[in-house]
């Protein structure tokens, strides 16, 4: 089985099968680049991910492993359904996977999934944050994420006004 070494920012190496790694768009490209530039077709590629630390990388690989046999999600076939793939794809395993994580870890996972181009993981992590935003007022959102308004003058009022000029459908 062809393997690949994936190394985290803090130097931890993970040995994973290339088949699994290729489910990440980024790793797939890296592996292919390595193949082209390497004379020895047997050589084991080594990929350094300088932005992702070991704890997070492990979670991403764990998620990939669990989902390695998922069919590649089709593009949203039915536009009017309005249902994203995320909703269809989120399994019980995913929920258990995310349940113990604090928000900081989830944020890092979003960045990692975005960087490594792992769509399914990006979807479920974003959905999780989304669930903390939906149905809340502006002030509640600020409190939940420790954010302060930095609008000047009537900018906030202006935004509220602009919102009224727009509708969802």
């Amino acid at each position: 089985m062809a393997l690949v070494r994936v190394i985290s920012s803090d130097g931890a190496a993970f040995l994973v099968s290339q088949r699994l790694a290729k489910r990440s768009g980024k790793l797939k490209t890296e592996i292919e680049t390595f193949r082209k530039s390497s004379d020895n077709s047997e050589a084991q590629p080594e990929i350094r991910i300088v932005t992702i630390r070991a704890e997070i990388l492990r979670l991403v690989l764990q998620w990939l492993q669990q989902h390695q046999n998922d069919p590649v999600l089709p593009a949203n076939q039915n536009e009017q359904d309005g249902r994203g793939d995320a909703e269809m794809g989120q399994s019980q395993w995913d929920r258990d996977f995310l349940a113990p994580m604090d928000l900081g870890i989830v944020m890092e996972l979003i960045l990692a999934a975005n960087h490594l181009e792992v769509k399914g993981l990006l979807d479920i992590t974003c959905k999780l944050v989304e669930s903390k935003i939906t149905g809340r007022t502006v002030d509640e959102i600020r409190t939940a994420f420790k954010l302060k308004s930095d609008f000047k003058g009537n900018e906030e009022e202006q935004t509220r006004l602009e919102n009224r000029w727009c509708v969802e459908n």
Binding site: Q92, G104, M107
Partner: protein, 659 residues
């Protein structure tokens, strides 16, 4: 390190990704949080939101603040020089809106520099165009808009416009060759047409022959003809004209229609009967429909209904059938035989709506891949309040509106689908993919325990359910569907004992609410819907830790069978709970015909619990709470085994009560 100051919720990548999946209504709040959120929201905002534009000639321009939209002139001013309204951060390139909703525009042949400028600047990037409440002064004006260069237009909606059209236009049928040579090839995929229903326009007609119109839109994927026409018989005639234009274009112009979504659920009360002509056209076109939404009509005969289903049997993933009572035309045809033995293997979502859809659940055997089923005769308050916890919740609003404008007389009771089901026919059927199962109707009854057990066997993996339950049924539910996320019990005859799983004199706890660890929405209905006269009290629990929000929305029973104390105990078991309470004097079913009759009064006392009995129960609960530490049942098997035994003392008590 600067770690402590770093807030990931200001990270561009994170914000952009989250804003892509956020519902647009929440995006509106997010834009007001702070500057960087505002800026990061712009891409999605201007791509997906519709900007409402008014015609300056047709609007009393008072203060801009009173308008829920911009006037065209102000909008163009913004585009050209100012940033007062459509603010752009300096480092982001100007992204203009791509979807426009034009209100009250007057299209006339006169040179209108403002409008010309609008089409020039916004036309090329425009992906969505809705024209509503506007007036086209002539056919030429109408054509001038739709023959515009809108190369990226995907969504087109014409809603309640007034077309000043020479009646002679309708006499002359354009020659097919002329039509084909004049046609522009457009990318419009989603088309919605709603003809006027204003008083002065009794006979609204589409200004252009459908042949000429549709010739431009060969790539249609979704066709929404809700309210195409509301006057008598109009819908079908117009629909047939629409379809036959499509047939002509495919036969003479080589058009290959690939419509995937068809929505012809009329917004208005209309006596529709699908007959052979419509079905013939549909059979000729053979759309690869994945979604079909229609009012099947009160008098459409089952064999015709079956023929429609057969056309799409292989492709249909979503089916929404509405059916109204047809009293004025004699008794409604029984649709209990749905889907008439047509095998629907692709079907995942099924909604059977309206008072005259009277099915049982026997259809399960024909649709093995179902994921979500609503059988809704009437949309009650508990369904309207449910919001985005349920997919398709907007259907309930549609349904409720139709009920309110109902012109038919009293409706005959609709049999409860569960009670009407022959479960022996379903012995070999299991639907592992079923997640949502919603039953809702005024005549719902409490399910027998064996019916709940049969449902649990049929749909082992449910996550969202609405059912009528008593204590016994509730216990079975708690032990069978541990992963429930949404539960609405209506009618609700579950009391303190059922919720807590305690039985007087019995030391072990039976399956109870705490088994449902994933619950994020819980609502109790009333013990009998006809008795609900008390204000609704809502409990809103927001859990800080987990992802889920606990909401108990509650039409409190006439004689509260589940006491506040028990609910509070339940909330206390979950940390970081917030409880808010408000009274809205709302009721599940607003109609007057469900007021209690004297007959109901006498029978209802059978399952109402008198105050003294309630006290007894509460005392009993307290007792068992004391012994709880050694008595709590954790083992699943023990739970299900103990159901039948444990029921005995409860039953005895119930009998005593009756006696």
């Amino acid at each position: 390190m600067e770690q402590s100051n770093y807030n990931p919720m200001l990270n561009t990548v994170i914000l952009r990704n989250i804003f892509e999946v956020l519902p647009l209504s929440d995006l509106a709040s997010c834009r007001q949080v702070c500057k960087s959120w505002f800026e990061e929201s712009l891409t999605r905002w201007r791509r997906d939101m519709w900007l409402k534009l008014y015609d300056d000639d047709n609007v009393d321009v008072g203060s801009n603040a009173t308008l829920t939209g911009l006037t065209l002139e102000n909008f163009l001013l913004e585009l050209n020089d100012g940033n007062a309204c459509i603010r752009d951060p300096p480092n982001i390139e100007m992204k203009t809106f791509k979807k426009f909703k034009l209100y009250g525009w007057i299209f006339n042949s006169e040179n209108d520099e403002l409008k010309a400028q609008f089409w020039r600047t916004c036309g090329p990037a425009m992906t969505g165009l809705q024209i509503e409440g506007s007036e086209f002064c002539s056919l030429r004006d109408f054509k001038s808009v739709f023959w515009q260069a809108l190369p990226n237009l995907v969504n087109l909606t014409l809603n309640n416009n007034y077309y000043e059209v020479d009646p002679e236009q309708f006499e002359t049928v354009p020659a097919i060759n002329d039509v084909l040579s004049n046609a522009r090839n457009s990318n419009v995929r989603n088309l919605q047409v709603i003809l006027s229903n204003s008083d002065f326009d009794l006979d609204p007609k589409f200004p252009l022959s459908f042949l000429e119109f549709l010739a431009n839109y060969r790539n249609l994927k979704s066709v929404n003809l809700r309210g195409l026409c509301e006057y008598n018989g109009g819908l079908l005639l117009t629909f047939e004209a629409f379809l036959s234009a499509m047939v002509t274009l495919s036969m003479n112009g080589g058009y290959r229609w690939a419509v995937e979504n068809l929505d012809i659920l009329s917004e208005h009360k209309e006596k529709i009967t699908y007959g052979s002509e419509t079905i013939r056209l549909l059979q000729q076109l053979r759309f690869p429909l994945s979604s079909l939404i229609l009012d099947i009509g009160s008098c459409t005969v089952p064999s015709d209904f079956k023929r429609i289903l057969e056309i799409y049997a292989n492709t249909l993933r979503k089916l929404v059938i509405f059916r109204e009572d047809g009293h004025s035309y004699g008794p409604a045809v029984s649709h209990g035989d749905f889907p008439f033995e047509v095998q629907l293997n692709s079907l995942t979502e099924l909604r059977l709506l309206g008072t005259a859809v009277t099915p049982n659940l026997n259809f399960f055997q024909y649709a093995p891949n179902l994921r979500s089923v609503f059988l809704v005769h009437d949309a009650g308050t508990s369904m309207l309040n449910i919001g985005s916890y349920l997919s398709d919740h907007d259907l309930f609003t549609t349904l409720r509106n139709r009920q309110n404008e109902s012109i038919w007389g009293a409706k005959s009771p609709v049999p409860y689908p569960v009670g009407n089901t022959d479960f022996s026919k379903l012995e070999n059927t299991v639907l592992p993919k079923m997640e949502e199962f919603i039953l809702c109707g005024k005549h719902d009854t409490v399910c027998f325990p064996e019916q709940v057990a049969a449902l649990a066997r049929l749909m082992p993996n449910l996550r969202k359910v609405r059912l009528g339950l008593d204590n016994d049924g509730f216990r079975i539910l708690c032990s069978a569907w541990k992963d429930l996320e949404l539960l609405i019990i209506q009618p609700c005859e579950v009391n303190n004992c059922g919720i807590t799983g305690t039985i007087p004199g019995l030391q072990t706890r039976l399956p109870n609410l705490t088994n449902l660890t994933r619950l994020s929405y819980l609502a109790f209905g009333c013990d009998d819907v006809r008795k609900s006269k008390d204000p609704i009290i809502s409990y809103d629990f927001s859990r800080g830790v987990s992802t889920s929000t606990y909401v108990i929305e509650d039409a409190v029973p006439y004689r509260a069978q589940i006491t506040d104390e028990v609910l509070q105990e339940f909330t206390q078991n979950m940390p970081h709970c917030k409880i808010t309470r408000f009274n809205t004097g709302d009721e599940e079913w607003p109609e007057k015909q469900y007021e209690r009759s004297s007959e109901d009064n006498s029978s209802s006392s059978n399952y109402g619990i008198s105050d003294s009995e309630e006290d007894q129960l509460r005392e009993a609960n307290d007792d068992s709470d004391n012994v709880e530490p050694e008595g709590v049942v954790e083992n699943d098997e023990m739970v299900s085994d103990s159901i039948s035994d444990a029921d005995e003392p409860h039953r005895v008590q119930a009998d005593n009560r009756d006696g």
